[in-house]
């Protein structure tokens, strides 16, 4: 009798070479690996200033087996728009143009171009790998840094005192065809979302929570575990939104206290019990709001 092997759930093809320049345990390198496994070789990647400017390797080397275009910090979306328009015009509209930016290039300096591309519904897949601070310049706060986190610009005596910008709600409000959150701790979910995004024409936005061991102050073999806790504590729910109104939760969280997620990270070590209660309160509130939107979609 012939042996039956289970079908691999993660595609075996690799589009990222070993020997890239990421830190050990980097979520952004693993994210790109999964993203390209899902998208395949007909993909062009636009990278603004971010950790991936380095991870991709110095001239004349390249970490990826697909074309990469490096560009200015605030232009991932607009360069991608031009590239996608050109490919359409030249009869190569079947190629996926993927903007690949960090939280700084997305939430902050690149936000105007991103909003412009979303409003025009340009045919690009915009991916934000969010490590929740400017990690490439050495851990400075961004508008994606969560409340209470330590960074070099929000030192212990003045921790971040504003909540993280809700980029998903902002992108959904543009009524783009597809927006989703994903993370490397749930690779099947992530690959499914990239595959779905690939089949959609117009603006697609994927928000990846991307663990950063040096920035989060975690051991470099704990990235996946900590990211999994982000999902299960509902600090980073996995869901998708179609046309700004059809919400669906794709991974049901196991409902652990947010304290468990915070306490394993050195960047939150100065939080008081009161701080943690406040964070739990706002996590609960956001989760309730998300569930209402899911119910409204049904």
């Amino acid at each position: 009798m012939e042996a039956v092997f289970p079908k691999p759930r993660i595609p075996e093809e690799e589009y990222i070479y070993p020997g890239h320049l990421a830190c050990p345990g980097c979520g952004a390198s693993l994210s790109m690996r999964y993203a390209l496994k899902a998208l395949g070789p007909k993909t062009m990647v636009v990278i603004p200033a971010c950790c991936w400017s380095i991870i991709a390797g110095p001239f004349p080397y390249s970490t990826l087996k697909v074309p990469i275009y490096h560009t200015a910090f605030e232009t991932a979306a607009s360069v991608s728009s031009g590239m996608a328009a050109a490919l359409d015009q030249l009869g190569q509209g079947d190629i996926t143009v993927m903007a690949w930016a960090g939280d700084g290039g997305t939430f902050d300096i690149g936000f105007q171009a991103l909003s412009g591309a979303a409003e025009r519904n340009d045919n690009i897949l915009y991916v934000c790998y969010d490590n929740e601070a400017y990690m490439n310049t050495g851990i400075q706060r961004s508008s994606a840094t969560p409340y209470g986190a330590w960074t070099t610009t929000t030192p212990e005596r003045h921790l971040k005192d504003r909540p993280k910008k809700n980029i998903m709600e902002i992108m959904a409000a543009h009524q783009i065809p597809y927006a989703a959150t994903a993370c490397v701790a749930y690779p099947e979910d992530m690959i499914q979302k990239f595959r779905k995004a690939k089949t959609i024409r117009g603006m697609r936005f994927i928000h990846l929570l991307s663990p950063c061991p040096p920035g989060w102050k975690i051991p470099d073999d704990q990235s996946i575990k900590v990211t999994r806790m982000a999902v299960n504590s509902k600090a980073f729910p996995l869901y998708e939104v179609e046309y700004g109104e059809k919400y669906r939760i794709t991974v049901e969280p196991r409902n652990i206290p947010v304290r468990d997620y915070l306490k394993v990270q050195g960047r939150f070590r100065n939080l008081t019990d009161d701080d943690i209660r406040n964070i739990q309160f706002s996590v609960n509130k956001n989760w309730d709001r998300l569930q209402k939107k899911v119910r409204y979609s049904e």
């Binding site: 001239f59 990469i68 607009s78 171009a113």
Partner: protein
């Protein structure tokens, strides 16, 4: 076919005849009509191009960069604050060796708000690695856009085609609009040797260590130097097909001139009148019009200006704390020739923020130059109110 059109529309038709694939532009006074005309041409099917209506000039240039990187011919247009906003991306375009063409309508910078003409905006971009061509009239605008692609795609550097706010942008003139077939025979389709290609993947613009960066910059510089020849050839071939020529600079009654006045843009039309007037009075005055500012045609300047007695340079721009910008460049170009006797060089600043330059101002300029053996100050400001 002859038509009456605005300078702005001449730029739009230049882009149409160049068969651009992608346009990305943001409207700004006084460039707006370029964008509007291109929108109409695309909407009516007279131009088969994708028009990305971006949310800023910064994104306009970024989108052109993306389009060119994927192998499409792209076009944009801007002015003043818009050009200043693009500044960072101008470097990205040239260092990535992308032959983007941009129409730039010369307008003064704020504050105070001024929509009127002045050349400081484009001249302030001289270090960005863009070729710059200044136009005197609407015909030259249309023709230069077509020539710009021809030059840009040979040397792999972007080109700025510059025209004055309102004096050209909003003024109707007769323009000979060439047939598409003639333009096609002059301008081949854009076929970049390197581009984003899923069948031949490369990384573009990544991290460069000190091991390689300087050589990359040297190659840009070499391409600029090569553009000096390429621009001359492009102009000569344009003449063969279209019967019109501008050169990289234009000499007017220069052969026997002992005294020379120089400028760029629409004001050179008035300088021709001044030259004629002084010639009638017996003064051996000539005009040298600067069309190509980057690359700076130093060798031609040296040749044409050698042995003259005095040179006056009109700047509708100012580098604060120094001099007019054209004046700086011409002074720098002539300095090494001192051993052969450099003409006395006079710099004049006038017409800032759209202040009218009258014939009387131009007479003041020539009279000042004639009545002084040597310049007493770096720049003489003409037309200032007391």
């Amino acid at each position: 076919m002859k038509d009456v059109m605005l300078g702005n529309h001449a730029a739009s038709h230049g882009a149409r005849l160049s068969k651009v694939d992608v346009i990305a532009a943001y409207p700004i006074t006084p460039q707006t009509l370029i964008v509007e005309k291109l929108s109409e041409l695309c909407a009516d099917g007279d131009l088969n191009a994708k028009f990305i209506k971006v949310e800023s000039e910064h994104s306009a240039m970024a989108a052109c960069i993306g389009a060119e990187a994927a192998g499409a011919r792209s076009f944009t247009a801007t002015s003043s604050q818009g050009l200043a906003l693009m500044h960072e991306l101008l470097h990205w375009a040239s260092a990535a060796r992308l032959p983007i063409v941009m129409a730039e309508v010369n307008r003064a910078l704020a504050p105070g708000w001024s929509i009127w003409t002045e050349q400081t905006d484009s001249l302030a971009q001289r270090e960005t690695g863009w070729l710059q061509f200044y136009c005197e009239n609407n015909q030259e605008v249309l023709d230069t856009v077509i020539m710009a692609y021809r030059i840009a795609e040979q040397v792999l550097l972007p080109v700025m085609v510059v025209l004055d706010a309102f004096i050209l942008s909003h003024t109707n003139e007769i323009v000979d609009v060439p047939e598409q077939a003639m333009v096609d025979s002059y301008l081949p389709p854009y076929q970049p040797e390197f581009k984003m290609d899923v069948n031949n993947p490369h990384a573009f613009g990544g991290l460069v260590t000190p091991d390689n960066y300087m050589e990359m910059r040297y190659k840009i510089h070499q391409a600029m130097q090569r553009a000096k020849t390429v621009a001359v050839e492009a102009d000569q071939e344009f003449q063969e097909i279209f019967g019109r020529s501008y050169g990289v600079m234009e000499a007017y009654k220069l052969d026997d001139a002992e005294y020379v006045i120089m400028s760029a843009g629409a004001i050179t039309s008035m300088l021709r009148v001044i030259v004629d007037a002084y010639r009638e009075k017996g003064l051996k005055l000539g005009l040298l019009k600067i069309k190509m500012f980057r690359p700076f045609p130093t060798e031609i300047f040296k040749k044409l200006l050698a042995g003259r007695k005095k040179i006056g340079v009109l700047d509708r721009d100012i580098s604060f704390g120094a001099t007019g910008i054209f004046f700086q460049e011409i002074k720098a170009a002539l300095y090494p020739e001192k051993k052969n006797g450099v003409p006395a060089l006079f710099g004049y600043v006038m017409g800032l923020g759209g202040r009218d330059i009258t014939l009387s101002h131009l007479e003041q300029m020539v009279d000042h130059m004639m009545s002084h053996d040597e310049p007493e100050e770096d720049s003489v400001w003409i037309g200032l109110k007391k």
